[in-house]
Assembly symmetry: C7
Homo-oligomer: 94 residues x 7
């Protein structure tokens, strides 16, 4: 992976429907169209962001639920990623 997010940002890759079913999570309603579950593929360094000290709690490989509509989508080598702030990640699923 060669996208290095800045500050408190992370790069995530949305999980496909079948992957979510395996892990036991099903998102309500239009979930298939707006998946909210993803895997973390890159984590920014944290540090002082907007004047506040941010410690990164996430690590690569974490499966997370995130606020839909949050972040910016980019395509890299044919795969879609979302770049968003750690604070837009709601929870880690284990």
């Amino acid at each position: 992976m060669s996208i290095k997010p800045l500050g408190d940002r992370v790069v995530i890759k949305k999980l496909e429907a079948e992957e979510k079913t395996k892990s036991g999570i099903v998102l309500p309603g239009t979930a298939k169209e707006q998946p909210q579950m993803a895997e973390v593929v890159a984590v920014g360094p944290g540090g002082v962001v907007d004047g506040k000290e941010i410690v990164m709690e996430l690590k690569v490989g974490d499966r997370v639920i995130f606020s839909k509509y949050a972040g910016t989508e980019v395509k890299f080598d044919g795969t879609e990623y979302t770049i968003l702030r750690q604070s837009d990640i709601l929870a880690i699923v284990e």
Copy 2:
């Protein structure tokens, strides 16, 4: 429960109408459609959130009243949960 909320977030499960009646709470008007009472099923670690030190006052099992419209709904193993910030919890009912 395998959803670990981040920061000052908690995961709650809304209580059904009969459960609320047992505890003596009845919510006004369209309460059946928009239940505001729930049980806490997971509590984030708190710590520094958005530059502010947050101490978690809630614990798993607390019955709480929360701001309707607050939070994000997810379905897990067939059950619906809501992930929201501790500050969206109004009160503990005992």
Copy 3:
């Protein structure tokens, strides 16, 4: 009373028109429909709320004037209460 408000929140019970008349307060205009006077029935612990140290100045039994539209209404054992922040309480009436 078994509703324990969190942080800087208080639980109040609106006073009926006759009770207000006894205490000499009459609210203008549509006051009967939107009573702004209430009695405090539960007080949160205060402490650090949203990163700021809040000392609770109110105590159970205080008669208060509050911002209408502020807070969330809940029904408990047949009685309606409002949960709101201490900062939405304008004054104590003695």
Copy 4:
């Protein structure tokens, strides 16, 4: 007077047109309908309000000009008062 404002709030009583004329102040335009001059009848304790130390500069009896539309009106023993924050008071008239 038995209304004790909380925090940085003050209770004021609007001055009638004739009183304003005596003091030499005339407010422009629709002033008769929206008087902006008042007498302070109660002053809150100040202290830490919304995380900031507020020192009350006003005292009972001060004649003040205030932002119209600011504050909440209440009627007490037949007299109308306005409860508003000290920061909504623009100036003292002497």
Copy 5:
């Protein structure tokens, strides 16, 4: 002058067109209707305003340019004044 502004507020008196011409300043367009130049007639004490230490840089007699639409207008002994915050004053003209 007997209007004592509170906090970081100042009282200014707008300059008439002829006075502005004397000082060499002409404001563009509809300047005659919306004069932005004024003389300071009273200065508040400054100090901690909204939790921030404010030092007053203006003094009575300063000729200033200010943000139009800023402030509140009052009439006193037949003269119109504007009460506004020091931060709404853009520059001193000398």
Copy 6:
């Protein structure tokens, strides 16, 4: 120049099209109507502005690019100036 900006404000004079061409800068599109390049003609003292310590990085004579729509326009001795905050200046052109 006799306009002394307050706080973190600066006074700038927009550069004419021919002046911009000389310096090699051409602004896109409707640049002739909305020039974004200017010369600094006066710099405020900086200091504590809105509770924050501001150090002025600009000096008289700097050629700058600024946010269009920012600031207030005034005419002085037949010349138009713009008064705006240093933070509305994007870059110095050398």
Copy 7:
């Protein structure tokens, strides 16, 4: 390059489609019309910006993904640049 951005701002030059393909990044949808990838051509000094200490993490030559719509466009010697804050840069691509 003779544009010196102020504070936490950087100057970037958008990458053309062919350049992006070389680096393996393809942006989704209307990417050709709204490229989000760019090369950093100038970096401000950082320091205290809006009261907060900002350390510049970017350096000239970095290839970055940035928030579209962020920043201000200027043309210099026939080339278009965008001036924006470091916080509008999402990630470095390596």
